[in-house]
């Protein structure tokens, strides 16, 4: 297990470096010179060259990369070419907001999907089980931002019980913080929950047909007891894979949902950076998102090993 962890950690680090090279390369390949953007179309070539020198963008790409990556390792994302503000603190401020948004959405999805999916599997011959199946199918077809707009319409515009957007830091007012996040969590979680329900249902259905559940019943357990004691952990193995993929999807979904609900998260920062042509900011945010996805995969792989002794 320790050896596996060390190996897997090495893979994580190596893939992060590769990802950093890729992110840097893509940004470098984009047309547009930060110095020209900063000075506008009427700038003299001398002024542009001077600014390039100050930005450091006149150096060879390899040197620029090492400089940027060396900073990343120490938590320094560089200084924005556009606003002259350091990028690191902006990202770390917003990373927390996005993390809360994504994890909350995931929690909503899990709370919905595990009981509903299991119920739908156990009662797959009954109308209620089929109804859950059908409802989850509809849920899958709805994009998160549309779910968000519908939720705003119902709860904020019609019923007026929740704010339609905005974000209050938890330190200022925990109650308002929670109220502000409920709709975003729901709009992310409902859709992912619908997808997850189907996976949970099919995983539990597969497990219900396994011989070891019959063995458990031959020992004297009832259907439910056998499923509870021997089925759910086995069913969780394929579900964990999907969970990892979904977390990555949620991270991307959060970019859009943050826009809908005016939440100052990473997605919001990314879109601002794009709109303001703040290349270094975009580069930093994308790098953080990529690293987050790599980290999620790492956690999924390790969880796998903890769950299934056959992999050890």
């Amino acid at each position: 297990m320790i050896l596996y962890l060390v190996k897997r950690l090495a893979v994580l680090l190596a893939s992060t470096v590769v990802a950093a090279v890729a992110v840097f390369a893509f940004m470098a390949l984009l047309p547009g010179d930060p110095a020209e953007i900063a000075l506008g179309v009427n700038a003299t070539p001398e002024a542009v060259a001077d600014l390039r020198h100050r930005f450091g963008t006149d150096r060879p790409p390899a040197v620029q990369f090492l400089d940027w990556f060396g900073g990343l390792v120490q938590g320094d994302f560089g200084t924005s070419y556009v606003t002259s503000a350091p990028i690191g603190p902006q990202i770390s401020d917003r990373l927390g907001v996005t993390a809360v948004l994504v994890l909350g959405g995931m929690a909503v999805a899990l709370v919905l999907a595990v009981p509903l999916g299991t119920f739908a599997a156990v009662h797959h011959r009954d109308p209620l089980g089929a109804a859950i199946s059908a409802a989850s199918q509809v849920g899958i077809a709805v994009p998160a931002f549309l779910a968000g707009i519908l939720l705003v319409f119902v709860f904020a515009v019609q019923a007026q019980v929740l704010p339609s957007g905005g974000y209050v830091p938890i330190a200022d007012d925990p109650g308002e913080w929670l109220r502000g996040l409920l709709l975003p969590w729901l709009s992310l979680g409902l859709v992912q929950g619908a997808v997850l329900t189907r996976y949970v249902r099919s995983a539990v259905l597969d497990v219900m047909r396994e011989d070891y559940l019959r063995t458990a019943r031959a020992k004297g357990r009832g259907r439910t007891g056998a499923l509870w004691r021997h089925g759910l952990r086995n069913a969780s193995v394929p579900v964990v894979t999907v969970l990892g993929l979904q977390l990555a999807t949620l991270l991307i979904g959060a970019v859009v949902v943050e826009r809908v609900f005016v939440i100052p998260g990473l997605g919001d920062l990314l879109l601002n950076g794009v709109a303001g042509r703040d290349l270094l900011l975009v580069q930093g945010v994308v790098m953080v998102l990529v690293a987050a996805v790599l980290l999620i995969n790492f956690v999924v792989d390790v969880t796998y090993h903890l769950l299934d002794p056959r992999l050890r």
């Binding site: 063995t215 020992k219 004297g220 009832g222 086995n234 299934d308 002794p309």
Partner: protein, 304 residues
């Protein structure tokens, strides 16, 4: 001790097992022979209350004074693993892959009220009893670390854990290597309290059982002491089955039973074997009853 009277098993409109009756006395070892699709496994599963979804049993089956068929799950499940246990055909998938072997053996004891620490100790003793080497180490292993033969021994340990009155074995050695089969059979013969042994392998039955039931098309077509049935089969199906399993001199054709087993629900009316039977006459359109004391058969034209 086990009394089965008029057992029927149905899946919707299709009758899979028809009017099966037999008894097993304490300590007796009874074999149930038949081809795939003859209803032998369903008969066993209905005694355990483990029929697949959508399949139901009716009739009467009693273990001692306790009913096994037609009673709510909550009543039967208490008997399973305690008074009555079963070893299945496929050892590779019968154990939970995520749980240590010792815990899976201990579980059947804690379920029926034994304290946890005691069950753990006894699990290791049971693994030793089914002749697994290094039982302490095996108890800590996961199923995938064991061979098929070892896993089947674990299943046997689970089945024996609470000292059942009857052990049901459904083709317990079919999935094992030939070299391991013999050891497994000897072990079952040694430890089984009373045994219902299901197989399609006549040689295995001959070495294990005192009495046999021959099933075909969901019915018992012949039953009696092993020696009588094997040396003087009366039903034409049993006769064909024995002929097909006998060693034949080199160069002669292997005797077979003509045709193949029809799918469930497609057996002929009357005698279920008549479409494959060389002796069938119009009389066979009427269902023959299972008649005869001791050595019974259900055939209008029995062999002498």
């Amino acid at each position: 001790m086990l009394t089965v009277e008029g057992l029927h098993v149905r899946a919707d409109a299709v009758e899979l097992v028809h009017d099966v009756s037999f008894t097993i006395a304490p300590g007796e070892r009874v074999g149930l022979i038949g081809e795939s699709g003859s209803g032998k496994s369903l008969t066993a599963l209905s005694l355990m209350g483990l029929l697949p979804e959508g399949v139901t049993a009716s009739g009467r089956a009693r273990l001692g004074e306790r009913d096994l068929v037609g009673v709510p799950e909550s009543r039967v499940k208490d008997l399973r693993g305690r008074a009555l246990s079963m070893v299945f055909q496929e050892p590779m998938t019968a154990l939970n892959p995520l749980m240590r072997v010792g815990a899976q053996v201990a579980e059947v004891m804690t379920l029926h009220g034994r304290p946890r620490h005691e069950a753990r100790e006894r699990a290791v003793e049971l693994l030793e009893r089914v002749r697994l080497p290094e039982p302490g180490q095996i108890a800590r292993a996961y199923p995938h670390q064991l061979s098929g033969g070892q896993r089947q021994r674990v299943m046997l340990a689970i089945a024996l854990a609470n000292g059942p009155e009857l052990l049901i074995c459904d083709e317990p050695t079919t999935a094992l290597d030939v070299t391991v089969q013999k050891q497994m059979l000897d072990l079952i013969a040694e430890v089984a309290p009373a045994l219902l042994f299901i197989t399609h392998d006549l040689a295995v039955i001959a070495s294990m059982c005192e009495r046999v039931l021959v099933m075909y098309g969901g019915r018992v077509v012949e039953s009696g002491p092993l020696r009588d049935v094997f040396t003087r089969p009366r039903h034409r199906y049993t006769q064909g089955l024995l002929a097909a399993s006998r060693l034949t001199p080199r160069g002669t054709r292997l005797p077979t039973i003509a045709g193949s087993v029809p799918p469930a629900g497609r057996f002929p009316s009357g005698c279920v074997f008549r479409n494959r039977c060389p002796h069938a006459t119009p009389a066979c359109e009427t269902t023959p009853a299972l008649t005869g004391d001791g050595h019974a058969h259900a055939c209008w034209h029995p062999a002498d």
